[in-house]
């Protein structure tokens, strides 16, 4: 497949991995931010190629995982209304709230549908005016423009029966929280290439400067990730702390101006709770006042989510901040598995704990001293 296979070339990957090993004078700790990168790293075993000189930590970049229980419970409560059709992306429907997942709600008679695009949900609302269609809008800055486009389309059509239950989150506040942790383990970040495709890299400059950390906007294929690592390690060795772009075929420093304008029109930055981390200042997006008629929280104020307390044994906070590696958690693989997750990072396949669990190396993993 063109534009994909080139970046999966094993020889190229090996050369890059060897270059990382050669460049590093000591062992560095680098966090890849995005769940898609985590998936690629573990699926190809890239962590094993560089383990001698780089410890890779999986970041909080799984939007499914960090969606608060309270939002999931609110979605459940909405589904119980006979007039509501709840739509979301497939993997969102599997995430357990306080009382089971949304597929369970469907089995109990709720109208829950998988869509591939928020625009499909808006079109459904136009097609079925008797239904109240609610789209559970989850994701980072990558997914948010499509949701904004759906909201704008719905407003243009004058749709009164289309609402968004918004739980969009922003990457930079999460990096700030990780970078400023007093017991920080992370030396450098591989920023999420697709988020940067939309937002550009300017937001990361102050974080890199304030915390003296290299940040490399990196793609998702093996060669991308290894090249991003090489750039990060090179900076660390030089004592530099710059924002760099590895994923040049998609990312511009200014991002995608059209998508950013759309986000600006529909959303505003707001404090948001992240499951497993807590409320991050500026950690998410909410609909602007001019889009209040499309905000499920404002249109159905009586429908709230209980948001049961998380298990006290879950160390998600430490895992998502890169302080604790999932296998170091006493519950990992014991009381906490993908079938019975105790908390956020184990619930979706791209969560840090679930990814570690699924792709764990067949031999006992041994870190060099």
């Amino acid at each position: 497949m063109r534009f994909v296979d080139e970046y999966r070339d094993p020889d190229l990957a090996r050369r890059l991995a060897d270059a990382v090993l050669a460049r590093a004078s000591r062992r560095w700790t680098v966090m890849e931010v995005c769940g898609g990168q985590t998936h690629a790293i573990l699926a190809s075993g890239l962590d094993a190629l560089v383990r001698e000189r780089v410890e890779l930590l999986h970041g909080p970049g799984c939007p499914v995982c960090v969606t608060p229980l309270e939002t999931l419970d609110r979605a459940q409560a909405l589904v119980e209304r006979p007039d509501v059709t709840l739509c979301s992306f497939g993997d969102m429907l599997r995430v357990p709230g306080s009382h089971g997942d949304l597929f369970g709600a469907r089995a109990r008679g709720g109208d829950v549908r998988v869509v591939y695009s928020p625009l499909d949900a808006a079109r459904l609302a136009a097609r079925e005016p008797a239904r109240r269609v609610v789209f559970l809008a989850v994701g980072f800055e990558t997914t948010a423009p499509a949701v904004a486009a759906a909201a704008r389309w719905a407003r243009k059509q004058g749709l009164a029966n289309f609402q968004l239950l918004v739980s969009h989150v922003r990457v930079p506040p999460a990096l700030e929280a990780i970078a400023s942790a007093p017991d920080r383990r992370v030396d450098a970040f591989l920023a999420a290439g697709h988020v940067c495709t939309v937002m550009g890299t300017q937001e990361y400059e102050p974080i890199a400067a304030r915390h003296r950390m290299p940040i490399v906007a990196t793609g998702f294929e093996p060669a991308d990730i290894l090249q991003g690592l090489l750039q990060a390690v090179d900076q660390l060795e030089r004592g530099a702390a710059e924002v760099e772009i590895q994923y040049r075929r998609a990312v511009r420093p200014e991002g995608n101006p059209a998508a950013r304008a759309l986000l600006e029109e529909v959303f505003e930055v707001a404090d948001r709770p992240w499951r497993g981390i807590g409320t991050l200042p500026g950690g998410g997006l909410r609909l602007r006042g001019s889009y209040a008629a499309f905000d499920a929280e404002r249109v159905f104020p009586e429908v709230t989510g209980a948001g049961a307390a998380e298990s006290p044994d879950c160390r998600a906070d430490a895992v998502l901040r890169g302080i604790l590696r999932p296998p170091e958690c006493p519950e990992f693989g014991r009381a906490c598995t993908p079938d019975h997750p105790l908390g956020a990072p184990m619930v979706s396949a791209e969560g840090a704990c679930a990814a570690y669990f699924a792709y764990r190396a067949p031999e006992p993993e041994e870190d060099p001293p």
Binding site: G90, M92, R94, D339, Y359, R360
Partner: protein, 353 residues
Amino acid sequence: MSHAYDPERLASPSCPLPAGSDRVTLSHGAGAGASARLFDELLWPRLGSELLGARHDGAVLPVDRGRLAFTTDTFVVSPLFFPGGDIGRLAVHGTLNDLAMCGARPLALSCGLVLEEGLPLATLERIADSLGQAARAAGVPFATGDTKVVERGKGDGLFVNTAGIGAVPDGRDLRPARVQPGDAILVSGSLGCHGAAVLSVREDLGFESEIVSDTENLTGLVEDLLEAVPGAHCLRDPTRGGVGAALHEIAAVAGLEIGLDEAAVPVDEPVAAACELLGLDPLFLACEGRALVFVAESEATRALAALRAHPLGRGAVRLGQVAAGSARVVMQTRMGTRRLLPLPAGEPLPRIC
């Protein structure tokens, strides 16, 4: 219940449909009247056989000495028609392939239809055509059958159950427990075509592609293979859950480690592209015309040649090897690293990002 029937009349393609409606109604399932007409005029001409023509409560078949294989499968695919096939063709091939994986030569099929009230009779005709064509092409008769109608909203248009029996020649034993350490693992062609073809026509995904389902009857391929390699250890058709799920099952039953070579996994480019787009893994998409083959290493070359000599096995490749160890599937990645192949939690669903 007995009906007079006249094969000459009923075999005529111009026979009229039940009068009064062009859709399935509850009276089509009532057991008389419209129900009998549905059978006589729509189903019999397409699915009829000597055994079915006896109009007995069941089929009576002669049995040779030896062993029988017996299997059943229920088909609920949505949509009913997809590139490369439909639920009828799939229902015949699915059961024939389950028999083939047992090393059996098929003798007879059954067909149970659950129709939803309101199903267009034209749709039923097309599917009955397809069931009949697939069975005739295989030379296997429908020996018995049943039709029920459920109220509108209580079915998804049409469900099909087929069962099949076949004779297993002496000496053939292809159960997963026979897989041995050192066995070579072969697959008869590229992966995921059926799963991707069905996804491509789901209206909620709406991507355009030229992917065609691989639904085929593997009886002939398996006969050729077993002629060349009578001592093959195990066969499996990787339907729901794909090759990934099939390998996990076999690893668990045999209590052995299955080693998979990522670089060898055959995936057609359009399927690979669709999987990239949707965030799916072709290893876990259904195949409906592929066989996984476990043979002793010393017979691997001969088995591969036998598969490739058959029109349905031209794309056969070696996927990996079985090793002693604990029951798990280990992938040798393209990058040269080793990792466990995880079993997905449920149905493959497109990811958020």
